[in-house]
Amino acid sequence: MPSATEQLVIKGLHVSVEGQEILKGVDLTIGRGEVHALMGPNGSGKSTLGYAIMGHPSYEVTAGSVELVGADGSRRDLLAMEPDERARAGVFLAFQRPMSIPGVRLADFLRHAVTNVRNPDRKEGQELMPMRDFRNELKAKMSELSMDTEFARRYVNDGFSGGEMKRAEILQLAMLRPKFAVLDETDSGLDADAVRLASESIARIGGADMGILIITHHEQLLEHNIPLKTHVMLGGRIVESGGPELAQELHKRGYERIRSAYPEAAAAEKALEESSRAAAV
C-alpha cells in the first residue's frame, strides 16, 4: 500500500564485512518528516547499517533490499547505485568518524557536493554552483549554526577536534538538505552546549520533510528531535521497536533487559565479539 510520503524502506538486510556477517536481517521503514532513533550496545551493527545504506564498498550486502519508495509507489533500488548516486538521490550519512582530506578546503569540497546533489545529472567538468551564490548560502548556514566562517577555509576534517568534525557534518547536512539522513553519533565529541545547539539545529534543518535516523548513545540529541520510533539493535538485528519512552528506558537502565529478552541476539553479539577478538590476534 503506497504511503502518503516518500519512504526509505529496508527489508531483510544482511551485510558482511570481510566474510563475517554483521547484519542478520534488518527491517526498517522511515518516512520523510519522521525521526527514528537507533540504539544498541557497541558493536551491535548500527554504523554498519549506515555504511550499507550509503554503499561503502567494504560492506557487502548478501541479502535483502534498500529502496526509496515514492508516494506514488515508484521504487528506486539504492543497492544498485554507486555511493555518489545515492547521495544525489537524496541520501546522507553523517559519519561517526569523518575522514580528513588534507589540502582540500571544506568550502571547495562542499561546493562540489552541493552542485552534484542539486543537479543529480551533472557530469564531471560541468559548471559548479556560482561561487558568489555558494558563498552567500554557506555563510548564512554557518551563522545559523554559530560557526565561524573561517572554518570553511580549513582543510576537510584535517586537524579538526572531535566536536569540530561533528559540527562540520551538521553543516554539510544543512547545505545538502537530503531526503533521508543517517546521523551516526553526531553528538559524540560535542560539549554540553554544542549538543543542545546540534539538537536544535538538526530539528530546524530536518524540518517537516526529512527522514532522519539518529544513532546515539545519549538522550540530549533527541531533545528537539522526538523520535517517532526507537529501535534497539542487538547482534545485527533490530530486536525491539518502541516510542520515545524506549530510548529513555535504555538510557536509564542499559541493555540487560534486552539481552535477556532476546537470548538469540545476545548470543550472536557474543559470537561476533569473540570472532573480532580472534581476528585481532
Binding site: E82, P83, D84, R88, A107, F109, A113, M131
Partner: protein, 463 residues
C-alpha cells in the same frame, strides 16, 4: 673488468658544428666554447650506471645516433604557445577556489607577458619584448645576437654557471645548443609581468636550447619557461638536451618556473643551476608532467651572505614514464636559507626518483637548510625513490630533511562519494589536496591553476 669508454656517435658531429658556426650570429668567444665542448664530446661515452647520478636512469634504449640537428619548420608553422602562456593570457581565474575568491581572486583576469620567446625544433620562431623594458636596458631574446651585442654583461655567465664538460649530455648541449634565450635585467630594474620562453618540438623533433637569466643588483623578474610537443610513447618521440643558468644578483629577486610538458615519447636531459648572491632571493618551481625519461640536475648555489632559495617541485607521472631528479642545495656562504619541497603523484607503472643533497661549506655558518620529498602513489605498480642527503662541514647550522610516500586512502574516496562526488572527482580532489602545500608556495596564481588543471586532467579513476 675495466671497459674502455666507447665514444657515443650521433649526427651531432664536427660537420654539424661547422654548419652551425658558419651561420651563427654569435661572437667568436661563444664559438670557441662550442669547439671546446665538441672536443670533449668526441671523447665521451654515454653516462655510466656506475655513476651515482645515473644509477637509476635506464639509457639502454636511448640511441644517440637517432638524433641530430633538425631543419627549420615551414614558414607558416605557428609558434608553440604552451600551457603557462595560455594560462596567463587567456584564463580568467574568477571563482576557481574559495580561498582565491575570498582573497579577491574574482579580479584576477587575463594577465600580460612582458616578453615572449618561442622556438620550434631548435629554430627561433618568436621573439618579443615590451619596448618600455628594452628602453630601460632589459635584454631579452635570441642568445646569438645578444651575446654579440652585450658580451660584457653576459660573457661572465654564459656556460660558466653549469659545467659544460661533466658528461656526454652536458658537452653535447654546450656544443650544439640552438634557439637559446637570454634575459638580462640591469641593476634596480623591476619587471612586474612574466617573461615567457617556450621550446617546442615536432613529432621526432629535437631541442637543445639553452636559457641564461642574469639579474643585476636589486633587480626583480618572473620567468616562465616551458616545453611542448614531441611524439607520444611508441612513436618517433623526441629529444631534448638542454641547460639553464641563473644568476641572481645582490638583493635581486627572481621567480622562475620551468615546466617540462613534453609528450610521453620524449627523452629529456637537463642541467639547471642557479647562483644566488648576497641577500638575493630565488623562488624556483619545477613542474614535470611529460617525457618518456627525464634526467634533471637542479642545483642552487648560495654564494653570498643572506641569500635564500625556495625550490618547489610538482611532478605527475603515468604510464611508463621515468623521471629522475638530482638536486643540490649548496651553501657556500653564511646566513643563507634553502628550502626544497618536491611533491610527486605517480600513476600507472611510472617511476620517480629524487636524490637530494644539502651541502654546507665550512664558511657557511648559520645555514638554514631544508629538503623534503612527498610522493603519492595512485597505483600499485608505480614506484618512487627518495634519497635525501646531507654533507655538512660547518658546525653552526640547522639542516633537516624528510620524505614520505603514501597512497590514496579508499576511505577518503568513499567519504567524498558519500557527499555526491563521483569517483573521478573524488580522486582529483584528494590529489589536488596532496599538492596544495606546494601550490601554496607558488605565488603566481595562474601557474598554480595551470598545473592543477593539467594534473587533474590526467588522473584516472582510483580503485
Amino acid at each position: 673488468m675495466s671497459t674502455a669508454t666507447v665514444a657515443a656517435r650521433s649526427a651531432f658531429d664536427a660537420a654539424a658544428l661547422d654548419t652551425i658556426l658558419s651561420g651563427t650570429a654569435g661572437p667568436a668567444w661563444a664559438s670557441d666554447l662550442r669547439r671546446t665542448a665538441l672536443e670533449r664530446l668526441t671523447a665521451l661515452g654515454l653516462p655510466d650506471r656506475r655513476d651515482e647520478n645515473w644509477m637509476r636512469t635506464d639509457l639502454r634504449l636511448f640511441k644517440p645516433q637517432a638524433w641530430g640537428p633538425r631543419p627549420a619548420p615551414a614558414p607558416a608553422t605557428p609558434p608553440p604557445e604552451g600551457l603557462l602562456a595560455s594560462a596567463i593570457l587567456s584564463r580568467d581565474l574568477a571563482a576557481e577556489s574559495y580561498a582565491d575568491f575570498e582573497a579577491g581572486g574574482a579580479a584576477v583576469g587575463p594577465g600580460r607577458l612582458a616578453g615572449r620567446f618561442a622556438s620550434l625544433d631548435g629554430h627561433v620562431v618568436r621573439c618579443e619584448l615590451d619596448a618600455a623594458l628594452a628602453a630601460r636596458g632589459v635584454v631579452f631574446g635570441a642568445a646569438d645576437e645578444l651575446l654579440a651585442a652585450h658580451g660584457a654583461a653576459l660573457r661572465p655567465h654564459w656556460f660558466q654557471v653549469i659545467d659544460p664538460s661533466c658528461d656526454w649530455f652536458a658537452a653535447m648541449h654546450a656544443a650544439f645548443h640552438a634557439a637559446s634565450a637570454v634575459l638580462y635585467v640591469p641593476p634596480g630594474v623591476r619587471i612586474a609581468d612574466p617573461l615567457h620562453v617556450v621550446a617546442g618540438i615536432s613529432d621526432g623533433g629535437v631541442d637543445t636550447s639553452h636559457v641564461l637569466v642574469v639579474l643585476g643588483e636589486g633587480a626583480e623578474a618572473t620567468v616562465l619557461t616551458e616545453t611542448a610537443g614531441g611524439g607520444s610513447a611508441g612513436g618517433p618521440g623526441g629529444f631534448h638536451c638542454g641547460g639553464t643558468e641563473i644568476v641572481v644578483g645582490k638583493g635581486a629577486m627572481l621567480r622562475m618556473v620551468n615546466l617540462q610538458n613534453w609528450n610521453t615519447g620524449v627523452w629529456h636531459f637537463a642541467r639547471q643551476k642557479a647562483v644566488v648572491h648576497a641577500s638575493g632571493r630565488l623562488q624556483w618551481t619545477l613542474g614535470a608532467l611529460g617525457s618518456r625519461l627525464s634526467q634533471v640536475a637542479q642545483d642552487v648555489a648560495l654564494v653570498g651572505r643572506g641569500g635564500s632559495a625556495q625550490v618547489n617541485g610538482v611532478m605527475f607521472t603515468e604510464g611508463r614514464q621515468h623521471l629522475v631528479y638530482n638536486t643540490l642545495q649548496h651553501h657556500e656562504a653564511a646566513d643563507c636559507r634553502s628550502d626544497l619541497l618536491y611533491k610527486g603523484a605517480l600513476q600507472g607503472r611510472s617511476r620517480l626518483v629524487w636524490r637530494g643533497m644539502i651541502k654546507v661549506d665550512k664558511a657557511a655558518q648559520k645555514t638554514d637548510g631544508y629538503q623534503r620529498n612527498d610522493n603519492l602513489m595512485l597505483s600499485n605498480d608505480a614506484r618512487a625513490d627518495s634519497i635525501p642527503g646531507l654533507e655538512i662541514e660547518a658546525d653552526d647550522v640547522r639542516c633537516t630533511h624528510g620524505a614520505t610516500s603514501g597512497r590514496v586512502d579508499a576511505e577518503q574516496i568513499f567519504y567524498a562519494r558519500a557527499r555526491g562526488l563521483s569517483a573521478d572527482e573524488a580522486a582529483r580532489l584528494v590529489v589536488a589536496g596532496f599538492f596544495q602545500q606546494v601550490f601554496d608556495r607558488i605565488t603566481i596564481p595562474q601557474v598554480r591553476e595551470a598545473l592543477a588543471r593539467a594534473i587533474g586532467g590526467r588522473i584516472h579513476r582510483i580503485a
